[in-house]
Subunit: 413 residues, 2 copies
């Protein structure tokens, strides 16, 4: 018996349908990956879903990073509401730079928590363990990462013996780390252990391989297979991405980096801190280089913000420079967790801090990354067609964090 | 005998291959249109090209309008070089607002002209007659529009009796106006009348129908058929779009307009001119509403530009406000043809001048338009695979006006 009814959370209402639901976040899924897989006939389920369900493009939250957008998806709300401006920030209370991997930073209740309270059998499965505690706050049910599947216990994760159910714990720097999440979701539905799932993958593959690479094609073929299994089990499937992905290289393949803290200190003197909110524990993905930076200006220069901004604008490859108050408005950021100046860089340009901050030797391939405006637009899809009201709505400005709304409220049952 | 060799134009070199070449500009081709057509199996040639040739995303020139980007494509250069900042501008020499449909505004030689001088049989076929004189400047060969195919003469267009060759002149407000361009290209190649073609379509269909609409699907099926015919004739085909397309509507389907000139005059007094460079003779497409505006500030307010900019930033839906010098740098615009302030609006927001300036009754469907950042990214493709050098280059920041470069220099013959 599947719990139905309506939940109300962060100012939005969601209908709980009488069928299992799975929302998937394909981390780093620039639409180009789907383009390549579908054109080659490797993603028959996504092709079917495109014609029989709904597929379009959605605008993600900025900065276009994992924690920001996963938090937005599970709360159905922008960063202003959920409180996460990145994976990493300068805590104004302590003055320390910290990873935002703890639910203590999350300022909004999640749809997952609300659904579990309403009686759904909720499961949250993530590839990256860093999201686990962050996004499972307040929910009852099953919550584990493929990264640490082996260590899951009934007490801590609501499930034990995951390896018996799904298979051996995959390596985090692999495509399997993501496919395992989907396979686990299929198993939970098959075993009636869950009827309301959030499945969040990792973008190691997209950081490492371009859309047309054979490794990407195999990865997306495997993703498609699992999506098809969910659809065939009668699950209402919705999906989106947290952000896109672009090559951040010069024509010769070398990384295209602006070391912003270095440049600012050279120009104006020491004391600048450039926070790169892409920073996270997964060093092989991107070397902490992304297309978004938050500049904390030293107190002595607070009267010269516009001069600092003019200098940043003068750096080729910079595409947007926003003073805090404007960034907060435009990007819907939490004001108390944003730098004095927000900077975004171009499609093939990343912002670094200083050369010493970034170990590019960890990268397995030419740099591919995200964080800025050019990774804002992502695919969004549902396995069932939208109703008339939502068909009209999605012609406007659908957001990736509308994916639960579309999947729960928007589809024709 | 097909002329080979190398041409050099606007600082770039192009190799003339010993096979017919056709570059296609699919006007208003947001990638979503290809997604829908390919997933449904209606675009088998584009699917084949995606796997056997090259397909990716390119960054267009801003503002994301037809004349700007068609001029960029045929010159292989940004607006700063070719001189066109829109379809329409305020001529600083005369103080008059004029359509930029004349080659007198074009400041760079075209690849078409250079190829014809090098002995290629060049053909330029456009759906919209407005582009004809503008872009055929300096070229020998065949140049006509499907809009006025019936009127083509050997003297003026390098060809007569187009209707005998291709069929009856299509209605400009139709998909046929575009498909006719491609059919004409096929006919010219079949009859060995051309071996170097630029085929530029019109976006009436994209303005009127969303990607998943049956009208769009049929239109793209027909486009695909003609691309396949070109490929089967041994033509090296390259393609891109001038700009994307987004619904510019509120959730209820009504147009989402900021009447910027009205707002500025209310706030600061009369004398503002907001030039909307989307303005062109094709009134049923978009009612002159797009996501880009150039504000000309009255002389009395020249000392208060930053105050005016702050006010524009305060209008919800505005996403970028750039002072002239910054806009010129960032968007590579011709400085003498740009307003004092450049404004862009969001994915589902257009800028209007005053309500009286826009006749929305001409629209056949909910407003879909372009002009801003959210229509900057467009598909790009070649029918043959890229060589190793270009495979690396396209991982960075490929532009839509690199399409001749990719097609002529980048493919494996």
């Amino acid at each position: 018996m599947i719990a139905t009814g309506t939940i109300s959370i962060n100012g939005r209402e969601y209908r709980l349908p009488p069928r299992p639901v799975a929302v998937i976040c394909i981390d780093g899924c620039a639409n180009e990956y789907l383009d390549q897989g579908i054109a080659r006939g490797l993603m028959p389920n996504m092709a079917r879903l495109t014609s029989e369900g709904f597929r379009g493009m959605a605008r993600g939250a900025l900065p276009s990073f994992t924690n920001v957008n996963n938090a937005a998806i599970v709360t159905g709300a922008p960063p202003r509401v959920h409180g996460l401006p990145g994976n990493f920030f300068l805590d104004p209370e302590t003055g320390e730079e910290v990873m935002m991997n703890s639910s203590k930073y999350l300022r909004a209740e999640t749809i997952l928590a609300a659904a579990s309270k309403a009686g759904r059998k909720v499961a949250f499965i993530t590839a990256k363990n860093k999201l686990l505690e962050l996004l499972s706050a307040g929910m009852e049910g099953i919550a584990f990462s493929s990264e640490k599947a082996r260590e899951a216990t009934m007490e801590r994760n609501g499930i034990a013996d995951v390896e018996k159910l799904v298979g051996p714990t995959p390596e985090i720097y692999s495509g399997d780390a993501s496919v395992y999440v989907l396979k686990a979701g299929v198993s939970l539905v098959e075993n009636q252990l869950a009827d309301f799932l959030y499945l969040s993958l990792t973008d190691f593959m997209q950081h490492t391989y371009a859309p047309e690479a054979s490794e990407s094609l195999e990865f997306y073929r495997d993703i498609d297979t699992e999506i098809g299994r969910l659809m065939n089990l009668g699950v209402i499937v919705g999906g989106t991405a947290d952000h896109g992905m672009n090559g951040k290289t010069l024509p010769d393949g070398s990384p295209n980096v602006i070391y912003l803290e270095t440049r600012l200190c050279e120009k104006f003197g020491d004391g600048f801190k450039v926070i790169l909110p892409i920073t996270d524990p997964y060093v092989k993905h991107h070397g902490a280089l992304g297309s978004f930076g938050a500049v904390h200006v030293p107190a002595a220069l607070e009267g010269r913000i516009s001069e600092v901004m003019d200098f940043i604008w003068s750096l080729p490859g910079v595409t947007e420079v926003l003073e805090k108050s404007r960034a907060v408005d435009l990007l819907e950021l939490p004001a108390d967790r944003t730098g004095d100046i927000v900077v975004m860089s171009g499609r093939n340009v990343v912002l670094g801090r200083t050369p010493a901050h970034h170990d590019l030797s960890q990268l397995d391939a030419p740099l591919r990354s995200h964080g800025g405006r050019y990774e804002e637009m992502v695919p969004i899809f549902t396995s069932l067609p939208l109703n008339g009201d939502y068909q009209s709505r999605v012609q406007g400005d659908v957001r990736n964090f509308d994916v639960f709304d579309l999947t729960l409220n928007g589809v024709q049952l």
